[in-house]
């Protein structure tokens, strides 16, 4: 486990020294600041608009980092051949993979926390005080973070067996598909025969359900987010990431590096 942490720490350090991430966080803070302006011109629903825009910015920036950095985590090391010296150490390939995953999730946690802090400052600026109900925004941010962890795992899986560009497309495609899992599951139409319907149902359970993580509407309107949903999503993420990372490790462990 300590070897996983060594790789994770270094992955985090790489992100900290990469100025692109700072630019993205700056961009997100800018979006939140603009939300304040937009909020001011939206009569009576300032905080709704601002929280919606703020959470969307956090989610979007997080997704960009998760997909692009996630795909490059392993493929960049293979391309640059930095892996050769690392794998000569007493380090198993799955440990390396898990360390990379943990490092990026840690980076995303820090980034998301910074952006969430910006959002709370904006809320404070608008409402002059924070109330207990604003904690739902925190829960929404946590669910975004879980979603990002799952996206990173998927990006890493695809990057283990295909080119970075295809891995980005596959991850993006799967993310979009995962937003419509409920619709796929409840598809009741006479257009398809029962076998196809059944296939859609099975597929809806296999696809990562990204809809689960979307509580932006509730958070913006200050509605409570059930603890059971947070727990469910946490367990779902751990399980799904476990399966995806195990598959990635199985592929990566047998991969010939150039």
């Amino acid at each position: 486990m300590s070897r996983v942490l060594i790789v994770a720490r270094n992955t985090f350090r790489e992100a900290v020294r990469d100025r692109v991430l700072y630019n993205l966080v700056f961009f997100a803070l800018l979006l939140i600041a603009s939300a304040v302006v937009v909020g001011q011109i939206s009569m009576d629903i300032e905080s709704v608009v601002m929280v919606s825009l703020g959470l969307s910015a956090i989610s979007l920036i997080g997704l960009l980092i998760a997909v692009f950095t996630g795909v490059g985590l392993v493929s960049k090391e293979i391309d640059k051949r930095t892996l050769h010296a690392v794998l000569a150490k007493p380090l198993r390939r799955w440990e390396f993979l898990l360390g990379k995953f943990a490092g990026l999730v840690l980076t995303l946690t820090v980034n998301t926390a910074a952006m969430a802090a910006g959002l709370f400052l904006a809320i404070l600026y608008l409402k002059h005080s924070l109330v207990r109900g604003d904690a739902v925004v925190l829960a929404a941010v946590y669910l975004i973070l879980l979603k990002l962890a799952l996206v990173v795992a998927l990006a890493m899986l695809f990057s283990c067996f295909t080119s970075p560009l295809l891995a980005i497309l596959f991850t993006g495609g799967l993310y979009v598909a995962g937003l419509f899992v409920a619709q796929l599951r409840n598809l009741q139409t006479t257009q398809f025969n029962p076998q196809t319907q059944k296939l859609f149902t099975v597929l809806s359970y296999l696809l990562p359900n990204f809809e689960n993580y979307d509580v932006m509407g509730a958070a913006a309107h200050g509605r409570a987010i059930p603890a059971s949903l947070v727990l469910h999503d946490t367990l779902y993420t751990i399980l799904y990431c476990g399966i995806v990372l195990s598959a990635a490790a199985a592929i990566f462990s047998r991969k010939d590096l150039k």
Binding site: R3, E14, R17, T82, A88, K89, P90, L91, R92, L257
Partner: protein, 287 residues
């Protein structure tokens, strides 16, 4: 092919012969389609065994956002050293490879030769029993090559086993107890650098000088080559005394007489030549 404990083993072959591929197989970077290999008595897939191996990849690349000291510290962590031990070892290694003053510079600012030195440092910082170096001299200037040679000899004196690949034959002749020659993906010979190429003399080289205006005998003139102020001629052992007599008769001053033995380079060239001829024959026959 077997590398014995405590020896310096040179793995020779032209570019594309399969040297790096073999080493990558040993290090678990790529996987064999057939056959097996063992290191320190364990299969190459045994990851804990890597504690006792140091590896310098060919044209090594490291995280360029780290300084040399940070990169070495990162690698040292995998061996479970304490913070104090890591600091000591990193300092010692940077000094050993001549990067003591450049330890705090990010690797993106390093030259190829400096990266090679970092590569060497990370390969030996945990005091491994076996050191595998893939083209350790590549990218280095003459001073750097000399320093790497000294480090290899130092490691040998410390009782380490060293396997290194190279296509620079003089390095192999100077450092190796034994060499293995690979060409076209096949091992062509293993043995001491002297024995592998044969001990039979291929002739005698005479170096001499001659005053201007003096005429050399016709038979000598045909074979002689001028280098600087001196002349050199290579003759068979049977012709040696007769040639010396002719030179003396023309008033030449003999500077040296040396036995010419086949070099690794001759052996190497012969192998490569055979390979190319074989490849051409296959191409012509269409098989």
């Amino acid at each position: 092919m077997q590398v014995e404990e405590g020896e310096v083993f040179g793995f020779l072959g032209p570019n594309g012969a399969g040297k790096s591929t073999t080493i990558k197989l040993l290090m678990g970077i790529i996987f064999p389609t057939a056959g097996s290999a063992r290191i320190l008595g364990k299969p190459v897939s045994d990851v804990p065994m890597h504690r006792d191996i140091g590896y310098l990849p060919e044209q090594p690349y490291f995280y360029d956002y780290l300084t040399a000291a940070e990169a070495l510290d990162y690698f040292a962590r995998f061996h479970g050293f304490t913070a104090t031990e890591r600091k000591e070892r990193v300092h010692k290694m940077l000094k050993k490879v001549g990067l003591e003053t450049a330890g705090k510079i990010q690797l993106r600012k390093y030259s190829k030769g400096m990266l090679q030195r970092v590569g060497l440092a990370q390969a030996i910082l945990h005091d491994p029993k076996l050191v595998i170096l893939d083209e350790p001299m590549s990218g280095l200037d003459p001073v750097g090559r000399r320093e790497v040679r000294d480090i290899i000899l130092e490691l040998k004196n410390d009782g380490k086993t060293i396997l290194f690949s190279t296509h620079i034959l003089s390095d192999a002749e100077m450092l190796c107890d034994r060499v293995g020659v690979i060409a076209g993906g096949k091992l062509r010979g293993v043995g001491a650098p002297g024995s592998i190429v044969g001990v039979q003399s291929v002739g005698m080289e005479i170096v001499f000088e001659i005053a201007e205006g003096r005429q050399l005998a016709e038979t000598i003139r045909a074979k002689v080559a001028k280098s600087g102020a001196n002349y050199r001629i290579t003759v068979s052992e049977a012709e040696l005394y007769e040639t010396l007599e002719q030179l003396r008769a023309t008033g030449a001053k003999v500077i040296s007489v040396t036995q010419v033995k086949p070099t690794l380079e001759d052996f190497f060239m012969e192998l490569v030549g055979k390979d190319r001829a074989q490849a051409a024959a296959i191409e012509v026959s269409g098989k």
